[in-house]
């Protein structure tokens, strides 16, 4: 029996038969449909995922004319901080534009959180100003809402992760509600400073990482940013496929936030005024790449069908069908791209 090379969700290589791959695709689709209460992919779409997974060639690409555009998270940090190349961040923006073929990039600080950036924003804006003078493509500023940073001892509010195990539910909820106010203020402040420095957009990255209060803070900040700076684009990137109910009762425009999957998350982002939504589908490291990819495409297709704003899918380490590993293999990454665009109808990555 012929076996095809593919991968597990942790990136390790594995050989699977056609029957095994098809079964994993089917089970991945069913898992997404069951969890999200969304339609399954059609038989033809599952066949096409099988075709993409088993295509010969190390990397694959979308059909001519189906290309999309990309945004990044901490894009200017990758060469400078992460790869430790002695390079100023606005220079890395130019490398991204002229050498790497990026459609855009975001400038971010090493401590990629709005709370941390607020303190040093006067040293961040000159980087944006210089980049804007020299760059042709859109340049955004990015950071994370990171609501957890507002808890004691680093922040002003009580730590709900300590209160919840003590069954202090009301206190934990009150602390999160207070943190929302601080986070919104910081995000709007930094957005205003970056707007004054010429930014094309603000990237609220990993919204909901601390749960539904984190997500609410991001929605409220989006609303205020668009109200104050209508020409500043807002990219609203999710933290996970499912908003954790750390608070549990928070609502936005009459919709309870906890428990929402991407196809419902996007409707809240639209209401808040976001220009681009970045849905996430998490990778299960103990399942195969075909399982993860089929599951991801099922969620993204459902999200795309209801979205009125462009979707830039998070396709990175451990999200978007990509294996959870430091150096994601390009065979898996490019297959995820092709499936997400051609079946999932993504507008960007």
């Amino acid at each position: 029996m012929d076996k095809y090379f593919t991968r597990m969700g942790d990136g390790s290589g594995v050989y699977m038969s056609a029957e095994e791959i098809k079964e994993d695709i089917l089970q991945g689709v069913k898992d997404a449909a069951d969890r999200g209460k969304i339609p399954e992919l059609t038989a033809e779409e599952m066949d096409y995922i099988f075709e993409i997974v088993t295509m010969p060639g190390n990397i694959v690409g979308v059909e001519r004319g189906r290309e999309v555009v990309n945004t990044s998270d901490s894009g200017s940090c990758k060469m400078t901080y992460h790869a430790n190349i002695a390079m100023e961040r606005s220079t890395s923006v130019l490398v991204s534009e002229k050498v790497l073929g990026a459609d855009s990039v975001d400038i971010g600080n090493m401590d990629y959180s709005y709370k941390a950036v607020k303190q040093i924003v006067h040293n961040e804006t000159p980087v944006m100003e210089l980049a804007q003078l020299n760059t042709v493509m859109p340049v955004l500023y990015g950071s994370m809402p990171n609501l957890g940073l507002y808890t004691k001892p680093d922040g002003p509010v009580d730590n709900w992760s300590e209160l919840l195990p003590m069954a202090k539910i009301d206190e934990a909820r009150a602390a999160q509600e207070e943190a929302v106010e601080h986070a919104v203020r910081d995000m709007v402040f930094v957005a205003g400073e970056m707007y004054a420095a010429g930014a094309d957009g603000i990237n609220l990255d990993t919204c909901g990482a601390s749960g539904d209060a984190d997500y609410l803070a991001s929605l409220l900040a989006t609303e205020k940013i668009k109200e104050k700076y209508p020409n500043l684009g807002v990219e609203f990137g999710a933290a996970g496929e499912f908003v954790l109910g750390m608070h549990g009762k928070l609502e936005y425009e009459g919709t309870r936030i906890a428990g929402l999957y991407p196809h419902k998350q996007v409707k809240l982002a639209e209401k808040a005024g976001a220009n681009i939504f970045g849905p996430v589908v998490n990778t299960n490291t103990s399942k195969s790449f075909p399982w993860n990819l089929a599951r991801t495409v099922t969620f993204i297709k459902a999200c795309s069908e209801v979205a009125e704003i462009p979707l830039h899918i998070n396709v990175g380490m451990g999200v978007g069908g990509v294996p959870m590993t430091e150096i994601p293999p390009v065979d898996a990454v490019t297959r995820a791209d092709k499936a997400l665009i051609e079946i999932g109808k993504a507008d960007g990555l």
């Binding site: 990397i59 690409g61 979308v62 001519r64 004319g65 189906r66 290309e67 999309v68 555009v69 990309n70 990044s72 901490s74 990758k78 992460h82 790869a83 991204s96 534009e97 002229k98 050498v99 790497l100 073929g101 990026a102 459609d103 855009s104 804007q132 003078l133 020299n134 760059t135 042709v136 493509m137 859109p138 707007y195 004054a196 010429g198 930014a199 094309d200 957009g201 020409n231 684009g233 220009n275 681009i276 979205a307 462009p310 396709v315 990175g316 380490m317 990509v322 430091e326 150096i327 994601p328 293999p329 390009v330 990454v333 490019t334 791209d337 092709k338 665009i341 507008d347 960007g348 990555l349």
Partner: protein, 110 residues
């Protein structure tokens, strides 16, 4: 976070427009400015440039168009508009407001 070769480079080669080598930056501008989905954004930009949407991802075709309209390009930069200069032309051609262009005009007394 993440390895830019595995992610940004792979995405670009596999599935993305590749920025100012083609019209990727222009299409993204329409998404950021007007929340246009990909087909709508491509159609809008193509009409403004007088080409078909499929041409927008063709680096050979777009290099000539960008050169002719002074929209900025990655190479062959002798006497070519750079950075903010190119963006002034982009704002005019696409009919949109670009924040940095407005600030530049304000600071230079345009």
């Amino acid at each position: 976070m993440g390895d830019p070769f595995s992610l940004e480079v792979a995405h670009t080669l596999s599935s993305c427009m590749s920025g100012i080598r083609t019209a990727g930056d222009l299409v993204l501008r329409m998404q950021l400015a007007k929340s246009m989905r990909i087909d709508e954004a491509k159609k809008y930009v193509a009409e403004k440039l007088g080409v078909e949407p499929i041409d927008l991802s063709d680096s050979d075709r777009m290099f000539e168009i960008r050169k002719k309209l002074n929209l900025g390009r990655p190479f062959d930069l002798n006497r070519a508009p750079r950075g903010i200069e190119a963006k002034i032309n982009i704002a005019r051609v696409l009919g949109i407001t670009i924040n940095s262009v407005e600030l530049f005009k304000e600071k230079t007394g345009f």
